[in-house]
């Protein structure tokens, strides 16, 4: 646990600085009220009405997030394997080849179903 204490010290310092900066921002600048200024910025045209709770967004981004999770888990498996590789030897290599082939099957499937294409 001692290893993490210095990170906490730096976290307190950074968070303190960041919160202080965004908190004093309203007080350091001038205040000149203007209705148009408080609208969402869309290059001068009337802002698009946005539904409460956020609008819709392209599903593509969700698919990317799901794929990210798949590959992130693969990476989580690869790291301890890489560290222990010298001890595992041939066994580790065979296991990892099989694992990567398994992931590649899913990867090829996604590719063929155009999950990786942005039209």
């Amino acid at each position: 646990m001692e290893l993490y204490v210095p990170i906490l010290v730096l976290a307190v310092l950074a968070a303190g600085f960041a919160i202080f900066s965004v908190s004093i921002a309203p007080f350091t600048g001038p205040k000149r009220w203007n209705r148009a200024k408080l609208d969402a910025y869309e290059c001068g045209i009337d802002p698009t009405p946005q539904p409460v709770g956020g609008g819709r967004f392209p599903l593509k981004y969700m698919i990317t997030a799901m794929l990210f999770i798949v590959f992130d888990i693969e990476i989580i498996f690869l790291y301890p394997w890489a560290v222990a590789f010298d001890k595992l030897g041939l066994f580790g290599l065979v296991e990892m080849v099989l694992f990567i082939v398994t992931v590649l099957v899913a990867y090829a499937y996604v590719w063929r179903r155009k999950g990786l294409d942005w039209d």
């Binding site: 001692e2 290893l3 204490v5 210095p6 990170i7 010290v9 730096l10 976290a11 310092l13 950074a14 968070a15 600085f17 960041a18 900066s21 965004v22 921002a25 350091t28 600048g29 001038p30 000149r32 408080l38 609208d39 969402a40 910025y41 869309e42 290059c43 802002p47 698009t48 946005q50 956020g54 609008g55 967004f57 392209p58 593509k60 981004y61 990317t64 997030a65 990210f68 590959f71 992130d72 990476i75 690869l78 790291y79 890489a82 560290v83 590789f85 010298d86 030897g89 041939l90 580790g92 290599l93 065979v94 990892m96 080849v97 082939v101 990867y107 090829a108 590719w111 990786l116 942005w118």
Partner: protein, 452 residues
């Protein structure tokens, strides 16, 4: 393993056991030191980038505030503080206020595991020149980068404006995509170093190993950049993508998205936090590149001949010099390359970098297994042949499919062209025919000049 035993004799190189023993006041001094270093680094970095890119474009760049314009960033920061802080009516107040904090704090935290130097004596305490180190240090950096993505998405989401939402999503999708390739490019480093702790990765780069090839002994260079050049090249591309820098600065593609996720943040201190986080992130990936591939704080070759080069506070200087060089590379890329299209960006990340990376990892691991496991040589060789053959077959298969798709697409375009050409009103789209009836406008008598 032999190299590690030889290294253990050198007490200047910290190991994982040297951490976690600092009294709290030393930790505070180090944390404040890192914080001040990063703040000054950002001020210097902004100035340095503007100055260097100006010289590359035959301009002077900032040269009014202070000597050589050195105070330009300070002036910019003051200006931001004195600007009006706008809360647009539509925003989600809490998230809008918090996102700059969420993005800035992890950016700073990533520097807690960067090794700046060897064991030094600090106010009578012998301690490593590094805030802390963990058995999973590099994983911590990746985790913090992921938390930074929350700041981007929430900033865009809380702004409730189309540009900001799209910019936030784009940026997040890009960062997570390139994070995969980036994390994969580290695997080869961990294979060689046998650890995830940054200080021990630096230590592993102090002495090169030996390779026996065809009965001859070759000594491998100590910096991983030479041994693992494919990993390094992939990492360089990913670090540009990860920090949203040119040529991958799509989130801020001003032609299409205004400012991306920070469109609704006026030029106040909130925006300054985004700016700060962006530069600190650049420093983080540069520091990671130096630590994992360029031997960390160790002196480069001509200087390393001097015995005292890797002792005391000197390595801190070598580290800073390497940082300046890597940062200059960022600026150089920005001055040279145009921005690429979003679909190209995602296709490159997912379809090129990831399979290349996995293939390289397997290839490298197989060669390493060949060296370690002398007994099962033929078996490993067979496996290597199997892997290479499988890669080749997959590539061929994809190539055939890609060729077929390309032909289909061409045929489709040709058919469309034909169809449009037959339509009388379009007559020969896209090139208008020469005999198209023209509208000549109002007939006007020509008036020759000078005869008024």
């Amino acid at each position: 393993m032999r190299t590690f035993i030889a290294l253990a004799a050198n007490p200047d190189y910290p190991t994982l056991e040297d951490f976690g023993k600092d009294p709290i006041w030393i930790s505070i001094i180090k944390a404040v030191g890192i914080f001040v270093l990063l703040m000054l680094g950002v001020l210097f970095g902004v100035w340095f980038e503007r100055k260097l890119i100006s010289r590359m474009q035959h301009r002077y760049g900032p040269n009014r505030a202070g000597k050589f314009g050195l105070l330009q960033s300070v002036a910019d920061g003051l200006k931001m503080a004195l600007k009006e802080d706008i809360f647009p009516r539509t925003v989600d107040k809490v998230l809008y206020f918090l996102s700059p904090v969420i993005i800035a704090v992890p950016a700073f935290l990533a520097f807690s595991i960067v090794p700046f130097g060897p064991m030094v004596t600090m106010f009578g305490e012998r301690t490593p020149l590094q805030l802390t180190d963990l058995p999973v240090a590099v994983l911590l950096v990746l985790a913090l980068a992921s938390i930074g993505v929350y700041g981007i998405v929430l900033a865009g989401w809380a702004s409730r404006s189309p540009y900001a939402v799209l910019g936030g999503l784009r940026s997040a999708a890009q960062v997570v995509s390139y994070e995969i390739a980036m994390a994969l490019s580290f695997v080869a480093v961990f294979l060689v170093a046998g650890t995830l702790s940054t200080s021990e990765i630096v230590r592993a780069q102090s002495v090169g190993g030996t390779v026996s090839l065809f009965g001859m002994e070759f000594s491998t260079p100590s910096w991983f950049v030479i041994q693992l050049i494919p990993s390094f090249l992939i990492y360089v591309i990913c670090m540009l993508g990860e920090t949203n820098r040119v040529p991958f600065d799509l989130p801020e593609g001003e032609g299409e998205l205004v400012g991306g996720f920070h469109t609704e943040y006026s030029s106040s201190l909130k925006f300054a936090m985004f700016m700060l986080a962006e530069y600190v992130n650049i420093f983080t990936v540069s520091a990671l590149a130096i630590t994992l591939f360029f031997g960390g704080w160790q002196a480069p070759w001509p200087i390393s001949l001097w015995d005292g080069a890797n002792t005391g506070y000197w390595p801190f200087l070598w580290f800073l010099l390497k940082m300046v060089i890597v940062f200059s590379f960022f600026v150089w890329v920005r001055a040279s390359l145009p921005r690429i299209r979003y679909d190209q960006l995602m296709a490159f990340g997912w379809k090129v970098l990831i399979p290349l990376n996995l293939g390289w990892i397997l290839l490298f691991a197989t060669f390493r297994a060949l060296r370690i496991d002398e007994g099962n040589r033929t078996l490993i060789m067979t496996m290597l042949a199997f892997v290479v053959l499988a890669c080749f077959l997959i590539y061929m298969r994809f190539d055939i499919v890609a060729q077929r798709r390309k032909r289909e697409q061409e045929a489709e375009v040709a058919a469309e062209f034909e169809e449009l050409g037959n339509a009388p009103e379009a007559g020969g789209f896209p090139v208008p025919p020469l005999d198209l009836p023209h509208y000549h406008g109002v007939q006007r008598k020509e008036v020759s000049s000078g005869t008024h």
